[in-house]
């Protein structure tokens, strides 16, 4: 139950009944809706007691940002405006979070790189802001098509990164993202990534809890860093500040601060595990020796490929990674115990997920790791392409016509 009958019912500023994260995510009755990923963002923000959002146009995330603006007009979001560029937006959002607001924004592809300097700053400032990244790839040459190359650049920013497969995942991850990121012992930014167009612009069935309930509001005074609101003592007024000094205490402070940000991401594991119902999702025959390790749309397509391979008499399975930072190391090792061949299908040219998988399975798996298939620049990944890759490796005849 959300509240015991003796407890006082609490409402947020928008007049929604405040319920526990567990109730909102797991217990509240859900009804079926048909909507795009962008609309799912709106529905998640609507139920998250969001205080502030700053927006900037870039395809394919613009619609999600418009819809958050509508929520502001309707009173569900406290502060909303359009910034001057993604660099400005991410800084404005940082200001919002420093001043004690639960803050969210959205971006895509080149916008991500325009904003890049801000992401390690977010992490170093220990603000639990949320970025919904609708991946589109980066320039040059100019492209606005689906591709997730930009995620590669975000891996070491000190932000948590979760990857949604579809609109349902995205809805649940946005809500859970705030809950996990705001835990005092975590309190780092969260990037909820999703493949642009494939999810943002595609309608699908999604189960939603009622919209008259919402997450408990953010309590900025539980932050491990002082809120910049002049209501509590300031964080630094020191006789000899350690920052910017050329001595070993200064160096050690800077280094330990960065280690601490990474440790905070590690401390998010049990919470992410609970609210995401595990850091990975497994699909297909548990005994299969062919395993697809994938995230996002590539995981969805791999599931289809597993069905096609079944028709060929080939057993395969999918290990879908829900979190990239923290990386589900133990889960992946366990899930690939019986694997002989691991395929990592990806929507980018560099194969950043393959690199991650190789890194964490090094000396922990005897399987061959194959970074294929790989599509980019807007290409789709039909399951037949994945099947073809498997048949090729197995030395079987490729019958499917692509």
């Amino acid at each position: 139950m959300a509240q015991a009958s003796t407890e006082k019912v609490i409402y947020n500023r928008a007049g929604q009944r405040v319920v526990s994260p567990d109730y909102l995510l797991f217990e509240a009755p859900r009804t079926k809706h048909f909507m795009t990923g962008s609309e799912a963002v709106k529905e998640a923000v609507k139920r998250s007691s969001v205080d502030a959002s700053v927006s900037y146009p870039i395809t394919p995330q613009s619609e999600a940002a418009h819809l958050i603006g509508e929520l502001w007009v309707e009173g569900y979001v406290g502060v909303y405006f359009r910034g001057e560029s993604e660099f400005g937006v991410m800084s404005e959002l940082a200001g919002c979070a420093m001043a004690g607001a639960r803050s969210i924004t959205t971006t895509s592809g080149p916008g991500t790189l325009r904003a890049m300097e801000n992401f390690p700053m977010w992490a170093g400032t220990r603000i639990p802001v949320q970025l919904v990244l609708m991946a589109r790839g980066i320039n040059s040459p100019l492209s606005i098509q689906p591709d997730n190359l930009e995620v590669s650049f975000l891996l070491d920013t000190g932000c948590m990164i979760w990857y949604a497969e579809n609109a349902q995942d995205l809805f649940d991850m946005i809500i859970a993202g705030f809950v996990v990121a705001e835990k005092p012992e975590v309190h780092v930014p969260i990037i909820t990534a999703v493949d642009g167009f494939f999810v943002s612009h595609t309608r699908e069935a999604i189960m939603l809890p009622p919209d008259d309930i919402a997450l408990p509001p953010y309590d900025p005074y539980k932050s491990p860093m002082p809120v910049i609101d002049a209501e509590i003592p300031p964080g630094r007024f020191l006789r000899d500040p350690f920052v910017m000094k050329s001595n070993y205490i200064s160096y050690a402070t800077h280094a330990s601060w960065q280690f601490e940000v990474r440790s905070a991401i590690e401390r998010s594991r049990p919470y992410a595990k609970h609210y995401l119902r595990g850091l990975i999702e497994e699909f297909g025959d548990p005994e299969a020796e062919i395993v697809f390790v994938a995230c996002g749309t590539a995981a969805a397509q791999s599931k289809e490929a597993v069905r096609l391979l079944e028709d060929e008499g080939i057993k395969a399975r999918v290990v879908k990674l829900k979190t990239i930072r923290p990386f589900p190391i133990e889960e992946l090792i366990n899930a690939t115990k019986n694997a002989k061949t691991i395929f990592v299908p990806e929507f980018n040219v560099v194969g950043w997920l393959e690199r991650e998988v190789r890194r964490y399975l090094y000396k922990r798996s005897d399987a061959d790791i194959i970074g294929a298939p790989r599509v980019a620049g807007g290409m789709t990944m039909p399951p037949e392409v994945i099947v073809k890759e498997v048949l090729k490796i197995l030395g079987k005849e490729v019958k499917h016509v692509i």
Binding site: F81, G88, C96, N118, A230, I232, F237
Partner: protein, 286 residues
């Protein structure tokens, strides 16, 4: 008023450094009439600044902090450069985020504080150098003016990138030789005060720090106007005496010399701003 946050916990009092106890007992809180005349008597909000001996920027810091009408409810956003070295010495809520994004961060803070505390006045002030405000951060600076953010931006113009070793900035005077301009600067000093007017600031002032009382008046006007009307901008000459080859006791004379030329006192106010200024004068606050 939230100056109670500066009260020292009784159980810890004997372990707390003297300057922290002084902040509680001898700093001026909750008094909008505070000003530079308090400097010899009150505890200052800046402790042992880390700038070079005789740096006019340290004078600017001291006068500005002494003039804030409500330091207990003031948030200062700074940027990278000489100024960023000073902020850990300041007893207020301060932010260093990135080089050049100061007006963007300040915009977010101001808007959220207005929303979280609709019945309180929280002043948000940007203090940054000419490189941060006019070069790398010009976009964020001007855009915050266009958006009519209710913040006060104060530029410490030393006409050079001093902290990185003396490179030309947009604020350098044409012809001046600095690093990265080995043949002398090729274009005119950027008239930032004029850009501020054209971009929607309601109160703009350009001056040196040779007169503490004038700095106090300008700071108070800019903050009062920003509270009620919109963005305000102060352009202060804070020469880098090292980079222009002066001695540590030459800062004041250098400022006085520029009072007569490119930093001659200049003030601009829109009618809405003038109305606020007149009212504050009647209330005895200016």
């Amino acid at each position: 008023m939230s100056y109670k946050i500066y009260q020292v916990n009784e159980a810890l009092r004997e372990f707390v450094p003297r300057e922290i106890i002084d902040l509680e007992e001898r700093a001026t809180w909750g008094n909008p009439k505070r000003g530079v005349m308090d400097l010899p008597y009150a505890k200052e909000l800046i402790e042992e600044h880390s700038l070079c001996a005789g740096c006019p920027e340290s004078m600017a810091f001291r006068y500005i902090l002494a003039s804030l009408p409500a330091p207990e409810d003031t948030i200062i956003v700074n940027s990278t450069g000489c100024t960023s070295l000073v902020f850990p010495h300041i007893a207020l809520h301060t932010v260093h985020s990135l080089f050049g994004n100061q007006n963007a961060v300040a915009s977010g803070i101001k808007r959220v504080l207005e929303w979280r505390f609709p019945d309180k006045v929280k002043d948000v002030i940007v203090l940054a150098g000419d490189g941060a405000i006019i070069d790398i951060g010009l976009d964020c600076t001007l855009q915050s003016f266009f958006r009519q953010e209710k913040i006060t931006t104060i530029c410490f113009d030393n006409e050079v990138y001093a902290n990185t070793g003396g490179q030309e900035s947009g604020s350098t005077v044409k012809g001046h030789v600095f690093k990265m301009a080995p043949k002398g600067k090729q274009f005119e000093k950027v008239p930032m005060w004029q850009l501020a007017i054209d971009s929607g600031c309601h109160y703009v002032a350009r001056l040196t720090v040779s007169s503490p009382k004038r700095v106090e008046q300008v700071v108070k006007k800019a903050i009062y106007v920003a509270r009620e009307v919109g963005p305000t901008y102060i352009h202060l000459y804070t020469p880098c005496i090292l980079e222009i080859g002066l001695n540590s006791d030459d800062g004041l004379e250098e400022s006085r010399a520029r009072d007569k030329e490119r930093f001659a006192f200049f003030e601009y106010a829109t009618p809405e701003a003038q109305e606020v200024i007149n009212r504050k004068k009647e209330e005895g606050l200016l």
